[in-house]
Symmetry: C2
Subunit: 187 residues, 2 copies
DNA sequence: CGTTTCGGTCTACGTGTGTTGACTAAAGGT
DNA sequence: ACCTTTAGTCAACACACGTAGACCGAAACG
């Protein structure tokens, strides 16, 4: 609990508090969703003041936008078999990855309109790529269903933490899912 | 806009207003989630008064409980092949069905603690049934993943309405998913 | 007809929210 | 040494919410 006695520049102090606020916000948005997360709670968790949060980020809306910036998926292309494997690998990454930002986004996406739009756009874009790589004539549906599977796994694990999913190793999940994804992507 | 001139008994009037409130609440909870749905908005949509909503349902919490009562899934059992088909049929039903109640539940489940608990319990119970019918030693994981697929499809369609899913016919969805589900349920 | 019951409305209270602006004090610059 | 900038705090605003209780008018009943 002892403060660092090291002299720290003004700019550095600012950077640190901003980071603390961002961390607290990510955690709280992820755990409680947009509406139930209050600026006051974020400030308290970051050990600072609501007014400061407003000064640094302008509004709750913009704070959320900063937290929810989602790193775009790497593009997919190539023959159907490879696409299936790419999608599986990408799912594995999601299950291993940092999570907290994505969780905030996902949880809020269902209540907060702007968040919903952004996620929808991201998913739609990716689905178009996948659909282009699938030879079947119902490619759009198949792409959507693969997306839905990913969505279901992530939501089930991160948001609902369902029993069988919470503890499962990412590799096992991918292994069990492999034949299923191949079956959908390839005719 | 003309009122029915028919004489209607007091009990009948009450039943109708209660139903109107319930309908409005289902719609709004489903569209906006628990937090963003206000008693005032429900009352307005039902063409009545916030105070009346309180009198009839006691609290917002209890109103939500009434809306979100979810009809339990019919139990599954039998050999793995049949289980897979039962699950697919059940998914088809969900895609065809009334939706609005389920949607309210689903959307609120991620923000509203009590709703979350109830959904989680329902899903967990069903997963145990499915796991018992699967011969593999990682039955729990497989059951969870089939559940996740259902979840993803319903969430993707009803909550996010993703492009390829919104318009798709339930039969087509089930058809495309059939080999995938079989692959997961059977070793 | 008089009285009671009850569906429906109106007003107001208390609380928690996002947000603002004045303020303090320390750091940076000259 | 002085002045300016700025990280951080405090107190207050306006507003929307869930909820409670007084109130009104018509149906039900004797």
């Amino acid at each position: 609990m002892a403060d660092e006695p090291t002299r720290v520049s003004r700019a550095e102090r600012r950077r640190r508090t901003e980071a603390r606020i961002l961390d607290a916000a990510r955690d709280l948005f992820g755990r409680s969703g947009y509406d139930r997360t209050t600026i006051r709670a974020v400030a308290a968790a970051a050990g600072t003041d609501p007014g400061l949060v407003m000064r640094y980020f302008g509004s709750k809306e913009r704070l959320f936008a900063r937290v929810a910036e989602l790193s775009p998926d790497e593009p997919v292309a190539g023959p159907a078999e490879d696409v299936a494997e790419l999608l599986l690998a990408s799912l594995g990454d999601k299950l291993r990855g940092d999570r907290s930002g994505t969780v905030a986004m996902l949880r809020s996406m269902l209540t907060h309109p702007e968040a919903g739009r952004e996620v929808r756009a991201a998913i739609t874009g990716r689905q178009r790529q996948v659909a282009d790589a699938i030879p079947a004539d119902d490619a759009a549906l198949r792409a959507a269903l693969v997306g839905a599977i990913t969505l279901g796994v992530v939501v089930g694990r991160e948001l609902l933490d369902l029993d069988g999913l919470r503890d499962a190793a990412p590799e096992d999940v991918v292994d069990v899912l492999r034949p299923a994804v191949h079956a959908i992507v390839e005719g």
